[in-house]
């Protein structure tokens, strides 16, 4: 005999959970369809490889793609080594006391700081105090600051997942602490570390607020020639096209097209993270 009440609550619970998932999926589907319907007409090869023309009403978004690419590379250069280094120190070397606990809590809290706060901090520190001016470098450094908490937390989690027995086994054979970490912990932790890091970077690539005052330009007739030049970026370009342009209705397809490219770029980065993790995991098994 089945208990009727149990059967009903079981079904109800299942229905509620399914509904939760459906709502989320529905929202994503709506966003994507909307962007694709409105943006697909703008997408063409010229859109990708040409600069904007005619007061940004025609042409492509190539400078914004290049700018976003450059600023993401700079973010990666600073945040990957720094974040991994921090995580290794925190997880492998630091004593587990009140101080490190506070450090860890602070890092997690920093992940929740609004990106505009990072943007303003970047202006003060990099643009003004360090005299980097509004530049790719200043913007990249600001984005690095923003992604560091994510990178550190994800990297530390990856290190935590490596069994103690790997470290002990290595130390018992007469390895020094660093030897044990370098040869028997890091090789297996790096896939996880990189996955978290790339997710952080893909978020950075889509951010507007941190680069707003630190280096991004409304329109530039040339590509940045060095790290101290200003640049155009996809998220900011999208923001301009959607809200700041003098003829918003005219440039609407360009705005949607930009959104498509940006989402595509982020998607490719995330896909890269997944592929990387898969391949490195496979190596680990061998």
């Amino acid at each position: 005999m089945k208990n009727k009440f149990n059967v009903i609550t079981e079904k109800l619970g299942f229905a509620v959970l399914t509904a939760c998932l459906l709502v989320v999926v529905l929202i994503i589907v709506i966003i994507f369809t909307n962007i694709i319907i409105n943006g697909h007409s703008a997408i063409s090869l010229d859109f990708i490889i040409k600069a904007p023309t005619d007061g940004m009403t025609k042409g492509g978004i190539m400078p914004a793609i290049v700018g976003t690419f450059l600023v993401t590379v700079i973010t990666a250069i600073f945040s990957i080594p720094l974040g991994m280094g921090c995580a290794i120190y925190l997880n492998e070397y630091a004593k587990q006391n009140l101080f490190t606990k506070l450090v860890r809590i602070s890092i997690r809290n920093l992940a929740g700081v609004p990106s505009i706060v990072y943007g303003l901090f970047g202006v003060i520190l990099f643009v003004q105090f360090l005299h980097l001016g509004t530049s790719v470098l200043a913007a990249g450094l600001t984005l690095s600051l923003m992604t560091l908490p994510l990178t550190i937390t994800a990297s530390e989690e990856a290190l935590k997942n490596i069994p103690m027995s790997f470290r002990e086994g290595s130390l018992a054979l007469g390895a020094t602490k660093w030897q044990a970490i370098r040869t028997n912990v890091l090789p297996y932790a790096v896939p996880g570390m990189l996955t978290g890091t790339i997710l952080g970077l893909s978020r950075a690539a889509g951010e507007t607020a941190p680069i707003l005052f630190t280096g991004v330009a409304f329109y530039l007739p040339y590509l940045p020639k060095g790290v101290l030049d200003q640049f155009m970026a996809l998220p900011y370009h999208l923001y301009i096209m959607a809200t700041q342009h003098h003829d918003i209705t005219l440039v609407k397809p360009i705005a949607y097209g930009t959104a498509m490219v940006l989402i595509g770029l982020v998607f490719i980065m995330n896909l890269g993270a997944i592929i990387l993790r898969y391949r490195l995991r496979k190596n680990r098994k061998e």
Partner: protein, 253 residues
């Protein structure tokens, strides 16, 4: 009664924070013998074993007092080179812990971190170590297969081979067969008998019969104290203390 002392603990005390895990342990261990350490769970036998290669130093709140001499050198002295000590005192863990590498690379690991690059020497040591751990015949055709492809017993023998490769003098074994089936256990026990001609072996075991079978000397720990320590046959036939007798006859445990 002990001729050639290789390890000697004098008034050794060990604490995890405020909890005392070992109290005034005094023991002398003979060279090229097998010493079994028995006792109920939480009696401090693993703690003692892990003190001999300073593995407990990885635990943050660990504190200790007293002296432990290994080959005449006090390893608790602050100037001791831990890395050097661990090369001399190898360890096999309770849960076999092969690294996620090939069989070859697992055994080569200790050699590589010791800076040995000579390929012929590495090959030779790997063959010797695998033969020493009675694993060579089973893996010689697939040295470059993953260590995870091996059975549980083979994995544990691989860990023994890995420890042998760095040529230690002493081998610590922390319940090396507790996760293995009877056949694999027997193989490990036979191996211990062969290995003792070259190494001093200290083995922690939960299994009284195993201690009786493999060890020359047996140490019985309880509540952090070394209750009794004598030749194995003496301990199992004519124990000095009532509590030892109760334990070895399985009246509690």
């Amino acid at each position: 009664m002990i001729k050639d002392i290789v390890i000697e603990a004098k008034d050794f005390n060990f604490y995890y924070g405020d909890v005392r895990a070992l109290t005034d342990v005094n023991i002398k261990i003979e060279k090229n013998s097998v010493t079994g350490i028995i006792g109920p769970s939480g009696c401090g036998k693993s703690t003692f074993l892990r003190s001999l290669n300073l593995m407990n130093n990885l635990i943050l709140c660990a504190k200790y007092e007293g002296q432990i001499f290994i080959e005449g050198e006090d390893i608790l002295h602050k100037d001791i080179d831990v890395v050097e000590l661990r090369r001399k005192v190898g360890m096999v863990f309770q849960k076999s812990n092969p690294f996620p590498k090939t069989i070859f690379e697992n055994v080569a690991y200790g050699l590589r971190i010791n800076g040995i690059k000579d390929k012929d020497l590495i090959n030779q040591r790997i063959e010797e170590s695998l033969k020493g751990a009675a694993l060579w015949d089973e893996v010689k055709d697939r040295l470059h297969a993953s260590a995870f492809d091996l059975s549980g017993g083979q994995q544990q023998r691989l860990c023994i081979a890995r420890a042998l490769a760095v040529e230690p003098d002493i081998l610590l074994m922390d319940e090396p067969a507790s996760a293995l089936d009877p056949t694999a256990t027997l193989k490990i026990e036979e191996l211990i008998q062969v290995l003792k001609s070259k190494y001093t072996i200290i083995i922690v075991t939960h299994n009284m019969q195993q201690a009786a079978r493999v060890s020359d000397y047996t140490a019985f720990f309880m509540m952090g104290k070394l209750i009794e320590y004598s030749k194995t046959n003496l301990m199992f036939t004519n124990p000095e203390h009532k509590i030892t007798e109760d334990y070895v006859t399985g009246r509690f445990g």
